[in-house]
């Protein structure tokens, strides 16, 4: 992050019609989401059914969990590209322990793995002063390499006595809604609460908005940033365990490239990649917006060739609005 350039010439930039653009960014995702939702409701019979909507939420639950925590990382001025690999490692650790020892210990250990990875990433990028984009890219490679070592190169299938318990998290229902959705809602709600209502949330915004000013105002910027990575790692661990539980297998190759889907969702929602601005609810809308496009392509029978292109175009639009909002005169 070119913090120097930003601090030297941050001046009176966010002014005037730039402000209007920012206002557009503020409401843009809401408008876009509502429009897409209405269009899909009208053009497809299947879209607006409980089954389809719950299916989307279930499919996206892991992404939403990681995006909620990732929002905190981005706002505090960091990037976490290691979440895809952490997702996989947590899944295989959980599957392995479920087979070897006990399913409940397995779920806990899987999340613990994510938490530990997050702590390592946080310390590396704050105390170790490694740029978080590059640092987590590198640790992502390392962790991705660890996963097949845990499984001895194979896919671990959880079967036998421990299987029913292990699969409960990913397949059980409460009041007609899958556990994964309840867990996602609880985690996302917790992240929203932390960011928008707590002192830690304010410190996260401050660390991203102006780290030196935050430090001089008594904010422990390094600790705050490390905290966001811990939460992000925990989120990846939880999502990885949920995925492993759903399919009752631990796959070292799981979640390849999922970090980009997560960051895309966060950015499309309107959280700034420069830090200091954003919100958890935005990332929820951003992730779901991309999911609705995918869902729409399937339901309307559109050529899936264009699906990726549409996603790319939308991400470009989102970051362009962020850039114009910052720098326009």
């Amino acid at each position: 992050m070119s913090a120097n350039a930003a601090t030297i010439d941050v001046g009176g930039r966010l002014r005037g019609h730039a402000r209007q653009l920012v206002a557009w960014r503020d409401s843009g995702i809401v408008v876009a989401f509502v429009v897409l939702f209405v269009v899909l409701s009208v053009s497809s019979d299947v879209f607006l059914t409980k089954t389809n909507l719950l299916h989307i939420l279930d499919q996206q639950s892991g992404i939403l969990i990681m995006a909620a925590a990732g929002t905190l990382v981005l706002i505090a001025g960091g990037f976490d590209l290691a979440i895809g690999a952490t997702f996989a490692l947590s899944g295989v650790v959980a599957a392995k322990l479920a087979v070897d020892i006990s399913p409940w210990l397995a779920l806990t250990a899987g999340m613990g793995t994510g938490l530990a990875v997050g702590l390592a990433n946080g310390l590396l990028t704050t105390v170790g002063r490694v740029n978080s984009l590059i640092g987590t890219l590198a640790t992502g490679f390392i962790i991705r390499g660890l996963a097949p070592i845990v499984t001895a190169g194979a896919i671990i299938t959880v079967s036998g006595a421990s299987a029913p318990d292990f699969q409960t998290l990913g397949n059980g229902h409460l009041l007609g809604v899958k556990y994964t959705i309840w867990v996602m809602a609880a985690f996302v709600g917790a992240m929203w609460l932390v960011l928008s209502r707590t002192t830690l949330g304010r410190y996260i915004y401050a660390a991203g908005a102006n780290p030196e000013a935050a430090r001089l105002a008594g904010v422990r910027v390094a600790a705050v940033r490390t905290g966001t990575f811990v939460l992000s790692g925990l989120a990846a661990g939880l999502a990885g365990v949920m995925a492993a539980s759903t399919v009752a297998t631990g796959q070292p190759g799981a979640g390849a490239g999922i970090e980009f889907t997560v960051i895309a969702g966060i950015v499309v929602g309107g959280t700034s990649i420069m830090g200091g601005q954003g919100a958890v609810w935005r990332s929820v809308l951003g992730v779901l917006f991309i999911a609705l496009i995918d869902n729409g392509f399937t339901l309307l029978g559109l050529d899936p060739i264009y699906q990726r292109m549409a996603q790319g175009a939308i991400i470009l639009l989102a970051v362009s609005i962020d850039a114009w909002g910052r720098d326009s005169r």
């Binding site: 010439d9 209007q20 908005a209 105002a217 008594g218």
Partner: protein, 507 residues
């Protein structure tokens, strides 16, 4: 549009930012080769006007004519091609490049795409000796102090051989010596036919330098008149719309039995300052004066934990503290208003209320959940005490004028009044009205028993406000002058004296 002597002609110019009218119906005629000053309070629209002329901001209505032709500058680059250069208040420098690279950015002469470094170096040396600036050509800009960045910005504008230069607060942060030299160069430029639009808070400078002065208030032109017809008082009255008591408010001496609030002994940071000892009593205002770059800001930063000293002891109310980080210092009741508000003080893109309450969140929260109504209430109370307009606490800090931004920082640190306040350049870039308010504020704080350390380049204010003045030279405290005996002259003499023992320090 006949008069060929008119270089720049602005007609019925308006600029709105959303609902805010920055500039309204401004007419301005600037003659070729003249120095045309624009003065006004912060937020009067001077800088916006300057930016429009320089092509950095597009007007909402009206037109700008240069040499009788409408200016269609869509970018600073366009403006530059039309011979319009800028010295901006907000530096637009590349931090990771050298001074030379920054000075000649965009004007490098190249042969087959290869920059001719030798020629650049020669041009740089010529420019530097003309200005008399001490500046290392190969230093990286990110390592430069604020005043040195200002010098780079000035040299860049001059390197571009513009026929019209817009200067927005060019001397803010320059030392007295550099300012003097710069003023001479501006005069030479004008004599050689360059037109200068000179935006400044320093009225003495304006009156000494400019041919014509335009006064702005609330986005409109109050009047334009030859400088010879104006005085500092007439300008201030026009800027404020009312006369102002320009005398410094009276200071009350600390009680003779007042306890020592802050005591520093033998503070040393290699390469910055050495063996600094000072003490501040309750109710006392101690000034740190000296040339820019003498180490006074570094001393302040070390005292409040922003930088780590190599040696020395710090006591607050008799207790040894030695802060390892700003957080430590704040917990002990020692706070600092930093030299640069925007870089080290404010979160410009966050709301006013968040900026005010940031260091006090712990006391405004229950189980880490922030009580938002209590937060707004205390922030508003603190701002009311300081006298900042707090109508909308959710506005971003960057919507405030420079003076109000500074008051916002005062409001932040006075929400829970500290025991010791260190104010580094608290009045830099602030208009006269706001300055006076800040003087009164500092005096009132001292009267209530706070110990205050004040750093300022404006010696008049140091001399008038401080009970004692410590003159810093080459990272050491060269002399202590009692408030009654302090004079601008005396401080300057000590600050400039180059290690001539005995007489210089005794004088």
């Amino acid at each position: 549009m006949g008069d060929p002597r008119t270089h720049l002609h602005v007609r019925r110019l308006s600029k709105r930012f959303g609902v805010i009218r920055a500039v309204t119906d401004v007419d301005l005629e600037v003659r070729r080769g003249s120095i045309h000053a624009i003065v006004g309070e912060n937020g009067a629209g001077k800088s916006t006007l300057g930016k429009i002329v320089a092509g950095a901001v597009r007007p909402s209505a009206g037109e700008v004519r240069v040499d009788g032709r409408p200016l269609l500058a869509r970018s600073p680059r366009d403006a530059l091609r039309l011979g319009i250069g800028t010295i901006s208040q907000e530096f637009a420098l590349m931090p990771t490049r050298t001074v030379v690279d920054n000075v000649f950015l965009g004007t490098e002469r190249a042969r087959a795409g290869i920059v001719r470094r030798g020629e650049l170096r020669a041009r740089f040396e010529a420019l530097r000796s003309r200005l008399g600036f001490a500046l290392d050509a190969d230093a990286l800009v990110e390592g430069l102090s604020v005043p040195d960045c200002q010098k780079v910005e000035i040299m860049r504008a001059l390197a571009r051989d513009a026929s019209l230069i817009v200067m927005d607060e060019p001397t803010a942060g320059l030392s007295a010596h550099d300012t003097e030299r710069f003023v001479e160069v501006v005069k030479e430029l004008a004599e050689a036919g360059t037109t200068v639009v000179f935006i400044s808070h320093y009225l003495a400078e304006v009156l000494a330098l400019a041919d014509v002065v335009t006064v702005m208030r609330d986005g409109r032109v109050v009047r334009t008149a030859p400088t010879s017809e104006e005085t500092p008082d007439s300008l201030i009255t026009a800027m404020l719309g009312r006369p102002l008591d320009t005398a410094f408010p009276p200071r009350t001496p600390p009680r003779p039995d007042a306890p020592v609030r802050l005591s520093v002994r033998g503070l040393t940071r290699a390469g910055a300052f050495e063996g600094v000892s000072l003490s501040v009593r309750a109710g006392e205002i101690v000034g740190l004066a000296g040339l820019v770059g003498c180490g006074r800001s570094e001393i302040a930063r070390a005292i409040c934990g922003a930088d780590q000293p190599d040696a020395g002891e710090i006591e607050i109310d008799g207790c040894r503290v030695d802060p390892h980080c700003p957080r430590d210092a704040i917990r002990h009741g020692l706070v600092m208003l930093p030299e640069s508000r925007k870089e080290d003080g404010l979160m410009l893109g966050r709301s006013i209320v968040e900026n005010v309450t940031l260091p006090h969140l712990a006391s405004l929260a229950r189980l880490t959940l922030i009580r938002r109504s209590a937060e707004e209430r205390t922030a508003r109370e603190s701002m009311d005490r300081i006298g900042v307009d707090a109508s909308d606490l959710r506005r971003h800090a960057d919507t405030l004028s420079g003076g109000n931004q500074q008051k916002l920082l005062f409001a932040r640190w006075l929400m829970e009044p500290p025991r010791v306040l260190i104010a580094d350049e608290p009045t830099r870039g602030i208009d006269v009205g706001a300055k006076h308010a800040i003087y009164e504020l500092i005096l009132a704080l001292a009267e209530r028993g706070m110990g205050v350390v004040m750093i300022s380049s404006e010696l008049e204010e140091v001399v008038a406000l401080c009970h004692r003045v410590l003159v810093v030279r080459d990272g050491r405290i060269a002399q202590e002058i009692g408030g009654a005996d302090a004079s601008v002259d005396g401080v300057l003499r000590t600050a400039f004296s180059v290690r001539v023992p005995a007489e210089a320090t005794a004088a």
